[in-house]
Symmetry: C2
Subunit: 689 residues, 2 copies
């Protein structure tokens, strides 16, 4: 018999016997007779027994909680005390829309939570409310976002004082529910391709809004199908000229258009509204489609912060070109992305909490003649959930940071900060929402059949969150903006320009990273080395720098034959990988910083463990890239894999505490299988036993 060459210290008999028995047992689904199992024994079942960290969930939670926890708790308790305002597990679309409106009105008028003023004055408080409200019902979070960030935000940010005077109170107190009518049937991502027109009529001093063809019907407009009274409509501003062309296209501008009568709620003349119908999720939000037929609005309804039309039809703007004006307009909308990234982490926390609490509770199979073990003791379950838990922590710190710099930007309007916030909000929104979307499916699957009960929430969380990947900027498009920004930074580096704050590592270290990998360190494999933040961050940044440099070379090469558009497309996968890689490094850097700043030693140790898992799991996931350039030698690759598995096991040992530190009470998580006491009996009670 040819013995395989790797087969050492191992005889055929030894090989066959235990494996054979295991196989038989597995295939027959044998059940053990219950017997008490010591803690130590349990640990040896799953991995080498080493000391478990001692974590104080309360002190960790204190470090984690945002500064606006009080208003979040106010939201939680308000809805918890009002069962008639809670969304039932099954509800029709129409009932859901009405309930969602009642929830929002109650929040504003009864609970006295008035989010509007925070949109501009204290964004971190606004996002905290948004997250809390979203955990009550994600539809409510989005409906609130449509009213205050989109409709309200467009009036505040794109309009001028006259608009604020006219609309502020009605928006704030919900007497003026409104819409944000940007997307059209044919144009979502390519906003400059919008075809709706607003033609100035100098005789009546009005704009005339028109939908020139079916493709230009405003589509997916939240609040339009049922509740909206106004809409901010994005349309190409057409000004009459005195030449043969007749009109001149001044580019896309925003206009306030009343769509329903304030008293009768009748749809106004010239406006046709249809219901976009049932959606995959978020059915509490009434999305509609709008067609305009010569709808006349006063000239004052142009939101004229970045461009204005005078009584005699002359255009004025502080910004010189259509593109600059359009960029300024869109730039004001970046807050939506910040909110989505932040709320997406909130969703991930809820899902991870439910999946991990249930995985600790649920027992299935076990060693012969011993009790069954928690499914979280299986390496496969740790593999599904522990890197996810680590990512949740990583995203928590990264999005808190994003909210901070966004708030700072809103105050200082510092140009460098503006660029930084734009790119970071695009990147984090794309990366975090894609990750959360995938994780929600993993959580459902990891909880098996009981994860499929609607009451345990994975279905609605996934369906509601799904569109986070698409709205406020399609993730694939946003990542390209990140890549484009990196290339711009790269270019500036070689021209001696300044680099934006978040990615100045490119400046510091591009040359170092682009030298050939060190063949000595490529073999280092000790735990101390692999858990050294410097190694981890260097590895992440090396990859980003390498991807950046190589894609720049490729773009340059292909541009000669394919042109800019063709070259960009030819390198598109490469560019997306670059953007993701960059965002991963930014997240890691922020996580490492947060670990260092944690004052409590036991919490800091727990966070360090979680951070190491985040870092090594990501490096292992892309090990091919590191191996291809010999940044990591085979022995080191193996050591990284082994350590990542071991860290998953270590994190599993404190998973309960890490979840507790999210501080989500049972009336927020709501899933019976995740209740902190008597989960099964709460589940059977729910079903009627």
């Amino acid at each position: 018999m040819d013995t395989p060459d790797l087969n050492r210290n191992w005889t055929e008999d030894e090989e066959n016997q235990p494996i054979g028995r295991r196989i038989q047992r597995l295939s027959l689904h044998l059940t053990p007779v219950p017997r008490q199992l010591g803690d130590l024994q349990l640990r040896t079942l799953t991995c080498a027994a080493r000391t478990k960290l001692n974590v104080d969930a309360k002190s960790l939670s204190f470090f984690m909680r945002g500064k606006h926890r009080d208003i979040q708790e106010k939201v939680f308790y308000f809805f918890n005390a009002r069962p008639e305002l809670q969304t039932p597990v099954e509800i029709s679309k129409d009932d859901h829309r009405e309930l969602c409106m009642r929830q929002l009105l109650a929040l504003v008028r009864e609970a006295g939570v008035r989010p509007f003023k925070y949109v501009t004055d204290e964004p971190s408080k606004y996002f905290a409310i948004l997250e809390a409200v979203g955990s009550v019902d994600m539809s409510l979070g989005i409906k609130m976002g449509v009213q205050y960030s989109l409709w309200g935000g467009s009036v505040l940010n794109l309009g001028t004082k006259k608009h604020k005077v006219k609309y502020y109170d009605g928006i704030d107190n919900m007497e003026y529910p409104g819409c944000f009518a940007m997307t059209e049937l044919h144009h979502g991502s390519n906003v400059q391709g919008l075809q709706t027109v607003a033609t100035f009529d100098p005789i009546t001093d009005e704009f005339v809004i028109d939908t020139p063809n079916d493709g230009a019907i405003k589509w997916w407009i939240g609040n339009a199908a049922v509740h909206g009274k106004f809409a901010t409509v994005f349309a190409k501003l057409m000004l009459p000229t005195h030449d043969t062309k007749g009109v001149s296209d001044m580019g896309v501008h925003a206009f306030v258009v009343p769509i329903r009568d304030l008293k009768t709620h009748q749809t106004l003349p010239g406006i046709e509204i249809h219901d976009c119908g049932h959606k995959v999720g978020l059915n509490g939000v009434d999305n509609g489609a709008l067609r305009f037929r010569s709808v006349r609005i006063p000239r004052d309804n142009l939101l004229n912060r970045f461009g204005d039309v005078s009584r005699d039809g002359k255009y004025t703007s502080s910004l010189p070109t259509i593109n600059k004006r359009f960029a300024a307009t869109l730039g004001e909308l970046v807050g939506g992305r910040v909110g989505l990234a932040y709320s997406s982490v909130g969703v991930l926390k809820i899902a991870a909490t439910i999946a991990i609490r249930y995985s600790l509770l649920r027992q299935q199979f076990g060693p012969p003649k011993q009790p069954e073990v928690s499914i979280l003791d299986y390496q496969s379950q740790q593999h599904k959930l522990m890197p996810m838990l680590a990512s949740t922590y990583a995203f928590h710190f990264a999005t808190l940071h994003l909210v901070e710099i966004y708030s700072e930007m809103k105050k200082s309007h510092d140009e460098q900060l503006v660029g930084d916030v734009h790119a970071l909000s695009a990147g984090l929104k794309a990366y975090v929402t894609s990750y959360t979307a995938k994780s929600l499916s993993i959580c459902r699957e990891a909880c098996g059949g009981h994860g499929y009960a609607a009451v345990n929430r994975f279905g609605s969380l996934r369906n509601d969150h799904d569109i986070f990947q698409t709205f406020e900027g399609d993730n694939t498009v946003l990542l390209q903006q990140v890549a484009a920004d990196l290339l711009k930074q790269y270019k500036e580096k070689f021209q001696g320009g300044t680099l934006a704050v978040t990615w100045n590592y490119l400046r510091e270290s591009m040359n170092t990273y682009l030298s050939q990998p060190n063949p000595v360190t490529a073999r280092w494999e000790s735990e101390d080395h692999l858990r050294d933040p410097k190694f981890q961050l260097d590895a992440f940044r090396y990859r980003t720098s390498r991807l950046l440099q190589s894609v720049a070379v490729r773009l340059n090469k292909h541009t000669k034959t394919l042109g800019n558009f063709g070259a960009w497309n030819r390198c598109l996968n490469h560019l997306l990988t670059l953007a993701e890689s960059h965002i991963e490094s930014v997240i890691l850097a922020k996580f490492i910083e947060s670990v260092k700043s944690c004052p409590d030693a036991s919490s800091r140790a727990a966070l360090k463990l979680v951070c190491d898992l985040y870092a090594l799991d990501r490096i292992w996931k892309d090990i091919g890239t590191y191996r291809n350039v010999d940044y990591v030698a085979p022995n080191k690759a193996k050591a990284i894999h082994k350590l990542a598995e071991y860290l998953s096991f270590q994190v599993r040992n404190i998973a309960g505490e890490l979840i507790d530190a999210f501080d989500l009470p049972d009336h927020v998580t709501r899933a019976p299988i995740a209740m902190q006491s008597d989960a099964y009996s709460q589940y059977t009670q729910y079903v009627g036993f």
Copy 2:
């Protein structure tokens, strides 16, 4: 300035100029002015222009179609002609359940499609009906499966002639709707842990069925909440003994238990039924929870094929042990997995058709002053959808093959085939359903906002299909069965035993694969070499063999310190990777065979292209493994990546034809955005314009 060392043939000016312009354009979302664009130009935009394959969708479709296409078309046309039997986009749980029952009754009693006889006599026809019915409404497919494969199948396969005589007609004509009551609240995967008991009472010649505790409540039982009259209940058979123990546990057996009165439909005494409530999907199926309180059934109701009890309480069986009887019992249920794997491919075909047709239709952005391009022309969209399309083809052939060998097994009962079907059905069910589940999310995301409209189906397809990963065997558990089977084969190889048909490559080539990789071929990178089926299959099998051999060594090592259970768990991720790797090779081998057997040259060329993409995409996804053992040198890794991207582009060029070959008419795909003509206008009409 330090020029990065990889930066050749490239000056700073060249670098900055076009990239800078591109960045500016991207970040500003510039729209081009429409202008006609030649086909050649379009192709050069995205990739090097090479000749496009000429594919005849009809001839390809003819090769692809199963032999039972006629009955599938009968199903499609029946429901298409009966609008009142079509499931609306929004429907309440209760209405859905009633509609689903009406659909099933109409199928059986009006369309004259009687699936029951095919369950045993012609399984390939049964699975074809199941797939077609599932595409009408997945709930209907599952309800049909519960009635005929599970409830009906348990009577036919676990019972004896007396049961067939008594129940056949009622099951066939739907007068006896029934349930399959296996899973309990506390036990899903670990079926031998079931706690429901059936105690024989020799005085009355009855079994007494009892639910001893809340954890033993039968849970998720399809047809139980509303429609079921009977249930096949799995319970531990308890026989009275004459010693102090009182009863002896003979292991899990199946019993027919009437649960509702045949005439009044009242729940029978001692039986408590509750509704499991709203689910993530499949709400047309009425899942219920059942508790038994001393429910008495005649002795004849034991399904006694593998074990029987005599009038005086003596146990007889042709099989010697509890484990063998249990294995035989579960073994009869393997058909469910075959059906799920097969139907899952059906779901993937529908989703891929909708996503790809829409991606061809949808245009967004484009080169300056030229028309916008189809989003399928973007490399990123090709990356999302083309390997998925290739996998759909791969799974099509693999599951057709599985159905064939399953049918053969049902006829011949050949022992080797039984083992083969068991492992392959477990592996394909797990692999295919996990892949489809992920793909459904990718399709939704790839179709942006319009993918979020419920009418475009990604939501319901995903929600309904989601549980395919869990029921009839949790995927993580099933993959372990595959791994266990491979280890058994491995062991037998070294003992000179025979190897099952599907994986005899292990026998043929284990020794070859386990030698060190050839440093010369590891550098080969020509397209001919990479597209050579021998290279591809060798690479897949090398990986499997290596994983198998190394996990055997590790299991052996850890068993000494951790015991069997601990060692298995310590290697669990490794074992799951092994199982997936093996299934991937089996799928590839079957695909290569199918390509070869295709008689039409143009179809064959198309299939070869698709097969190459499947193979190279999978190798690239796991390039780290290949690199770690130097099976693939860095230059070859790069060539594989480049070729996989290029093949995605090539497949994109025939994507329309490849989708057409699935032969899914518009009334089956149903999504307005995927209609073969006037998709947008059908979509606007749906919304009410």
